[in-house]
């Protein structure tokens, strides 16, 4: 994999492509052409005109279930055959979505559910994507600009943990195309919440609407004795208290069901394997709330345009 120079001024800086350290960089021409800024965002805006709703799935914290949630949000929405769903995985270093969706390279899970991920571009499961920020940004821009999305009702964007290049880029590139909002995933522990608070502040800083928070891995029901335990104890009040403090909606709590992990490993929808699980019911309720948010948003937009 190619490297960008250590002193890269940044693809969107005034020195992009023109600095001394840019000599010999694989992205030099692209940066120097000034194409880093406006023309691409305009192109992306055009491409996104056929995409009705865009939802980002975020978390400050890793391993809380963003990809699992994104996949099942996509599965849930795609159950309506008349709805066209696209799932974009911009976790470039750790692209989990192909595996969770059971895809080896083909891009359609169902006729109405398509997936794009850097995972499809890697020739071996051992290939490491060792890219610095500017190159990751370039890939994300390519995904948004060069993929022929077509008529899509919901574009779900699964993100890596953190608040860095990928997050800044996707928000910047989609800014003119309008993002409906972000769904933020957490687990009940403080170690997770402390990162999620940062993510909420990030959303506010970049003026990204927050659809709400999902508390994942919220309680475990033993398959043998059916009693509940807290594997990840909410020592500081869990997502509920955090949402109250920060005035964001709590969309719901999803309990830990061992069948979720198993189905993700097999690349199957958990809803099919465990239709009556409390986790399935929780997911469905959350998905409904997300749809309601998007529809409400859409009618507000339409009212604004017509008034």
């Amino acid at each position: 994999m190619e490297e960008v120079p250590h002193d890269c001024p940044g693809a969107d800086s005034a020195q992009a492509g023109r600095g001394a350290s840019c000599q010999g960089c694989p992205n030099q021409r692209l940066c120097a052409s000034g194409a880093g800024a406006t023309p691409d965002t305009e192109e992306i805006k055009e491409k996104m005109k056929t995409v009705k709703h865009k939802i980002l799935v975020l978390s400050g914290k890793g391993g809380v279930g963003k990809s699992t949630f994104s996949a099942h949000l996509a599965h849930g929405l795609a159950e309506d055959e008349n709805t066209q769903i696209a799932l974009l995985d911009i976790d470039i270093c750790g692209p989990s979505i192909p595996k969770i969706m059971g895809l080896e390279g083909e891009q359609y899970v169902e006729d109405n559910l398509g997936v794009m991920s850097v995972g499809f571009l890697l020739s071996s499961p051992d290939d490491a994507v060792i890219w610095r920020g500017p190159k990751k940004n370039g890939m994300i821009k390519q995904f948004l600009r060069d993929v022929d999305w077509g008529e899509v009702d919901y574009l779900i964007v699964d993100t890596p943990p953190g608040t860095s290049d990928e997050h800044l880029s996707v928000v910047r590139y989609l800014a003119t195309a309008h993002i409906d909002g972000a769904v933020i995933i957490t687990t009940p522990q403080e170690v997770s919440l402390q990162d999620v608070r940062k993510e909420i502040n990030f959303c506010r800083k970049v003026k990204l609407p927050i659809i709400g928070v999902v508390e994942n891995m919220s309680g475990f029901i033993c398959p043998k004795c059916k009693k509940e335990s807290q594997i990840f104890p909410p020592t500081t009040g869990g997502a509920e208290l955090m949402c109250q403090d920060l005035e964001v909606p709590l969309l719901g709590r999803v309990p830990l069901d061992p069948l979720i992990g198993k189905n993700c490993d097999k690349g199957q929808s958990f809803f099919i394997d465990a239709p009556d699980s409390p986790a399935t019911l929780a997911y469905r309720s959350i998905i409904q709330r997300i749809q309601e948010f998007c529809n409400l948003h859409q009618s507000k937009e339409e009212n604004l345009i017509s008034s």
Partner: protein, 284 residues
């Protein structure tokens, strides 16, 4: 940098261990913290360097959140966690004015801070420096390895959970280690199973088999493998989900000291012992 002219702040550090994973949320910070505590209980002087700039978890895990960082003549003084100064910590968490403020930096700025962290913390004499990393194979990891390279790290512990989804990411991390010349000391499988406190049934909450599969794929030791005896009713050779461990991490207490009978204790102390056994003896 004047690395040739003076030994620098890492000269007194005998062994450097990185804790890596391609996957987020598998327990890198937990393993880093518990490894450090276990090594310290074995009589070693330990430092922890937390280079997760977006999600610095370790200050809270050690009850050190809000502590101030002071400058000394050789750079930043690390935060000491005990009176005997046997365990110290540096994290970006200490430098944030408001803990809820997100560090929203692009790569080049993250690289600059990591270089500073590695070279400008006055660690003094340490037996072990445990370096906790964020998930992935990007700017932070490259910057950390480049900055540490002159000091020849002992190697990396690579952490996974049992699921195939985790293995899928972590095998890429193993490639990263190979490409950057970092020796993998072993695989740690975390969150292996949960023993119901009501009926003692052990459930594989996050699927099973990942740690062994990775260890075989990569030809590296599976560090929990010959732990004896295994925790009752749980799969042998890995770190189980342990609510007592979770709680001490939330509350910033010393799990190794407080819960010697707990399910995760045996696995964690076994991993620390393997590190001690794998450490080359130093000449006095």
């Amino acid at each position: 940098m004047e690395a040739a002219a003076e030994p620098g702040n890492l000269a007194g550090v005998r062994h450097i261990i990185l804790v890596l994973s391609g996957k987020g949320g598998v327990g890198k910070s937990t393993i880093s913290t518990e490894l450090a505590l276990a090594l310290r209980h074995a009589g070693k002087k330990v430092g922890i360097l937390d280079v997760d700039l977006c999600g610095p978890s370790i200050p809270r895990m050690l009850g050190a959140q809000g502590r101030a960082v002071h400058q000394c003549d050789r750079g930043w003084a690390p935060v000491f966690l005990d009176r005997e100064q046997s365990i110290s910590l540096m994290s970006v968490g200490f430098l944030l004015e408001k803990p809820d403020e997100a560090v929203v930096w692009r790569g080049p700025k993250k690289n600059a801070l990591i270089k500073q962290f590695v070279s400008d913390v006055a660690w003094g004499e340490l037996d072990y420096l445990v370096v906790d990393t964020p998930p992935g194979t990007s700017d932070e990891h490259m910057a950390t390895i480049e900055a540490l390279r002159p000091y020849q790290p002992l190697g990396a512990l690579v952490v996974t959970t049992p699921q195939a989804v985790s293995v899928g990411d972590v095998r890429r991390e193993l490639t990263f280690c190979r490409k950057t010349g970092l020796r993998v000391m072993g695989i740690v499988e975390n969150m292996s199973g949960f023993t119901c406190p009501h009926c003692t049934e052990c459930t594989s909450v996050f699927s099973r088999g990942g740690g062994e599969e990775l260890a075989q794929l990569a030809g590296v030791p599976f560090l929990g493998a010959d732990m004896a005896p295994p925790p009752p009713l749980c799969p042998a050779g890995s770190v189980p989900l342990d609510p007592a461990l979770m709680r001490t991490l939330e509350e910033g207490h010393d799990f190794i000291q407080e819960f010697p009978g707990s399910p995760a204790f045996a696995a964690l102390t076994s991993i620390a012992q393997k590190i001690l056994d794998a450490t080359p003896a130093c000449l006095p």
